[in-house]
Symmetry: C2
Subunit: 317 residues, 2 copies
């Protein structure tokens, strides 16, 4: 049995908690679309994927990754074509293994040309912290309804409607923040995303509703967002994004940034309290704009015993 060779790349979705919104590390590429940091996997040099990933991130971006987990392996034909500075896909297929990395907000900006970009510049429909994003009613929902109506048969129309309803919460359905990837894929397959037109090399009528990224990188980021939004509920991963000490309000702000909607403050604290994940340091942070807040710290030990638990998400409004 012989196995045809393919080239393997490693993609990192490095995330941090910004002041206003969660950030993702991207590499600007001049007039081209920005890309995720990317490095080849060299089986001769790297005993494991993760070692390889950490190595080239520290080489290229000059900073050390902390928390890292494998996301997904992407290998569909056609997805890698637009990355012009990589070998053409005609000979060797390139598959890429996506990783999610979380770094404390204090992480210095990498000097190698990387930049922190707000998640929601790439996914404006995902940010409900200040209510329903205008882009939904203004552009996306009408376009989705058009796409539904364009279906060729009644059956397909019904299938499209079901899909749009459940992912985008149309017709009174609930919005499920974890379905970020499903929404991206729906927008892609219905042609509402710049990458879709680009990949099919045709101009679509859709106004650029958000920023695009090179290759299938925006899909990889959507995968990372979905994963993080889910995981935060059953593993204490948020703390990987926090500095050593923080106020509870800041913690809540970071969680709200991730899930994309506001939380009920008192209930958030009550639930957090019960987990025992956090303990007061006695020190206070002044100049909060009101009463000073106590600084807390994450108790890593708690993770060890006991059940898998993350942070409760007591939705507000």
């Amino acid at each position: 049995m012989s196995i045809p060779p393919v080239a393997v790349g490693l993609n990192a979705v490095v995330m941090a908690a910004g002041l206003e919104a969660p950030q993702v590390l991207v590499v600007p590429r001049g007039s081209n679309e920005p890309a995720l940091p990317f490095g080849p996997f060299d089986p001769a040099r790297h005993r494991t994927f993760e070692i390889g990933l950490r190595e080239w991130v520290s080489e290229q971006a000059h900073f050390q990754l902390g928390y890292v987990e494998q996301l997904y392996t992407f290998g569909d034909r056609g997805r890698e074509a637009p990355l012009a500075d990589l070998p053409s896909s005609d000979e060797a297929r390139i598959i890429s293994i996506g990783y999610l990395a979380l770094t404390p907000e204090a992480a210095d900006l990498p000097s190698g040309g990387g930049e922190w970009h707000n998640w929601y510049h790439y996914f404006p429909w995902e940010d409900w912290r200040a209510g329903k994003p205008a882009i939904l009613e203004g552009q996306i929902e009408p376009a989705l309804r058009r796409w539904i109506d364009e279906a060729e048969t009644d059956g397909r129309r019904a299938a499209r409607r079901d899909r749009a309803r459940s992912t985008f919460g149309l017709d009174g359905r609930a919005w499920n923040e974890e379905r970020c990837l499903d929404r991206y894929e729906l927008l892609y397959s219905s042609g509402l995303i710049a990458e879709a037109a680009r990949d099919r090399k045709e101009a679509q009528g859709m106004p650029p509703v958000s920023r695009s990224m090179a290759s299938d990188h925006r899909r990889i980021v959507a995968t990372a967002i979905s994963r993080l939004r889910g995981k935060i509920k059953y593993r204490p991963v948020v703390f990987e994004l926090m500095p050593d000490t923080f106020t509870l309000s800041r913690l809540q702000q970071v969680v709200e940034g991730i899930v994309g909607f506001p939380l009920h403050k008192q209930n958030f604290r009550r639930a957090l309290d019960r987990t025992g994940f956090v303990e007061g340091t006695g020190r206070m942070l002044a100049r909060t704009g009101g009463r000073p807040a106590e600084l807390f710290r994450y108790r890593r030990e708690v993770l060890r015993d006991g059940q898998a638990t993350g942070i409760a998400i007591p939705r507000s409004r």
Copy 2:
């Protein structure tokens, strides 16, 4: 930038609900250790991994996969060496993309030499349905304590103790069924698993505490079990393992087989009821050994709208 080529294999962990316990599809290999079904990924033939996977499973095992999801991509050096019928790892590194597939219990046994094997023959310590498995107190816990004591420094000893406590629930800690993979990895790294001795080519004093598998296949199965045990709680994946109609007792039995411990029957039903996932057909199943049970069916539509929900797991005892 050039990317060194590697060979990509696809591994399928195909699972079904057996009469007594969940089953996994394995390929017996005579005097060698049994293996998971494995097929090469050929970028020239397969547009996507999943298409490739479905194709060779239907070729080799003569049956069609239903539900399929990507699990993880395994690429550590050394892991593939023992699969003698594959090219040596010296030249080309083989990485394998693991997939989890779920098939209804009615699925015919594949004729191509595949066999359904009970999960718990490979992971006897994971089956708490009839109480704490004897192998834990009899063999695993003493061996773990020996391994803890063997550590060279106090710090390492403490680290080993913490790790063993939280994964195996030592010293009164809770048993978390989702940490199946962590437990396998601990047993592996502490040398209590046949594969560990094999991979280091040394004979360990450990009695064969369970069946082993080729290469890192048992690790892949552990990954699948952990994934399924987690996912069952927030997505209605159990129904992928059920036939068209089933009794509630059978459904509970399947869930118990997966999570590995008994559930409280009445509360299981109450919670199931609330999800609306299931509806009675009016038909009854006789000869259950007692009062006949109603046959139910899964309402696929419910999945569409509403929140992500799986099946409640009201632990009993």
